[in-house]
Amino acid sequence: MTDAVTFRGVSRHFGSVKAVDAVDLSIRDGEFFAMLGPSGSGKTTCLRLIAGFEQPDAGHIAIFGEAAEGVPPYRRNVNTVFQSYALFPHMNVRDNVAFGLRVRGIGRAARHRAAEEALAQVELAGFGGRRAGELSGGQRQRVALARALINKPRVVLLDEPLGALDLKLREQMQEELRSLQRTLGLTFVFVTHDQDEALSMADRIAVFAEGRIRQVGSAEDIYRRPSSRFVADFVGSSNVLPADLAGAGPAGRWASLRPEDVLLDPAGREATVTARAFHGRVTKLTLDFGGQALIALVPAREAVPEPGATARISWDPARVHVMEPGA
């Protein structure tokens, strides 16, 4: 099967800044793919390269096997949901959604019908006559989605689409986006700096840093088996410690240990509690373990030692992931 999007050695430099640096990437047809990374890591530039707003300085981009270099955005079968939605302020919701059909020369009646269908799909039936300014953030987001879907793109690009929403709405939209993507069977490429969002929504995740991809894999892969200290640290604030100290590998290698895998165990090894914070379901303990800082998330029902006291801890060595040398 042809991949939806392929990058081969793609670079995009802005002056001396290597926004995207020799990136190789394959996004499969029909998958929900997340590009995760801190701001300035090159994930949004990658998205703009797929959309056609940027052209690569080096390398090749193919969309469904066809070379994309030099193809302008308006000739790509790819549509974008923009970070700030970018709804046209001088048009009502229906005309916003129908814009893609209008520029293709579809008649007024046909495109209005299609726009109403697309609005119904995102549960905004009957909102066609409103102005974008009269809608709430969540509603604008749905309009932007309907507008992007009206041209029946094969790839939908989403640039931090949930960033402007409050937590509750964000969780609801996460589920809706996921189910919409499954129903339509489209390829979704999703840019985010929120690791929880990426982990909960994506089939596969690419972790970006400084213009390069550090790791590509399923959520499980990325979370359980980070390939480098950066990935371990960025995806879910993992403990990174020398492998021999973790009791799981040779000296000179690094290992990651998830905070929730650190257990309080009366028969365990000694560590000093340096800080304690109550987080509802769990209590977060910061420990000094032989000079190595260690975070432990302990279920709230357990008795937790005071700061300054000695805690006894252990973990299952099978839970420790030892990284490749040099990572």
Binding site: P73, N79, A86
Partner: protein, 269 residues
């Protein structure tokens, strides 16, 4: 913020005084348009008549000057709309070496005294052996008309999110469709306001015109010449009155058009 408290009497008097100082001379012009005395401004006017309106309508030299003024204003404004918008788009939309310098240089003609613009244009025309014509006046006026349009357009471009253009392109609109369906509707009121102001400025321009006009007379120049001749004085006042009425309306319209749209279009965050 407006407060509910009433203004003290002194403040009211000062405000009315200020307004009277600004507007009384204009009221006098209106008054003398109907005076029966034609050689001097006598107070109070000895009598009132409507005959000067008829006399004014019969003066062909006036009509020639008016047509020339309208023509110059229309062409300079059209030229300014195209060039000013393009410059504004370049300065607001893209980053290039010397961008800040260019935006300063574009505004410079309106900051410089008109007499400098006039002299430099006149010497340029004579150096290049360009004979004075309607077109040399148009060139002179275009220098400040472009600034007016540019200032309006660049402010609107900066308030319009660049993501709108990306969005239009993304949805399949080519460059021309993007301009027609997205860019133009978003800057149209700014262009209309800028165009009206530019037109009004060109219409009453004297200084640059005297340097670039040769022996043609635009309306303001015609009025200036008319004032030194003590013949049919109220005719000038009738013309002045007409000009006030005709120019105030577009300026009011421009004011109301640009007053809205304080928000940044398309940037909802």
């Amino acid at each position: 913020m407006p407060s509910d408290a009433r203004a003290p009497l002194g403040l009211k008097l000062a405000a009315f005084g200020g307004l009277a100082f600004l507007l009384a001379p204009i009221a006098l012009i209106f008054l003398y348009a109907f005076s029966t005395e034609e050689k001097s401004f006598q107070w109070p006017p000895p009598g009132f008549t409507l005959k000067w309106i008829g006399v004014t309508l019969e003066r062909t030299d006036l009509w020639e000057a008016l047509v020339l003024s309208l023509k110059v204003a229309a062409i300079s404004t059209a030229l300014a709309l195209v060039l000013g918008t393009l410059t504004a788009a370049a300065v607001a939309r893209s980053r290039f070496f010397g961008r800040e310098t260019i935006s300063l240089l574009v505004i410079l003609p309106i900051a410089l005294p008109g007499i400098i613009t006039g002299i430099s244009l006149r010497s340029a025309f004579s150096l290049l052996d360009i004979p004075f014509s309607t077109w040399t006046i148009v060139l002179g006026h275009a220098t400040f008309c472009i600034v007016i349009v540019y200032n309006n357009a660049v402010a609107r471009f900066r308030r319009t999110s660049g993501a709108l253009i990306d969005a239009a392109m993304d949805l399949g609109a080519d460059g021309l469709q993007t301009f027609r369906l997205v860019v133009l509707p978003n800057i149209a009121t700014a262009l209309l306001a800028g165009g009206m102001l530019a037109f009004a400025l060109s219409f009453d321009e004297v200084i640059v015109t005297t340097f670039t006009a040769g022996n043609q007379a635009t309306l303001p120049i015609w009025m200036l010449e008319e004032l030194v001749r003590p013949r049919q004085r109220p005719v000038t006042n009738v013309v002045a009155m007409a000009v006030v009425l005709v120019t105030v309306l577009p300026i009011l319209a421009a004011y109301y058009l640009t007053r809205d749209g304080e928000h940044t279009a398309g940037a909802d965050r």
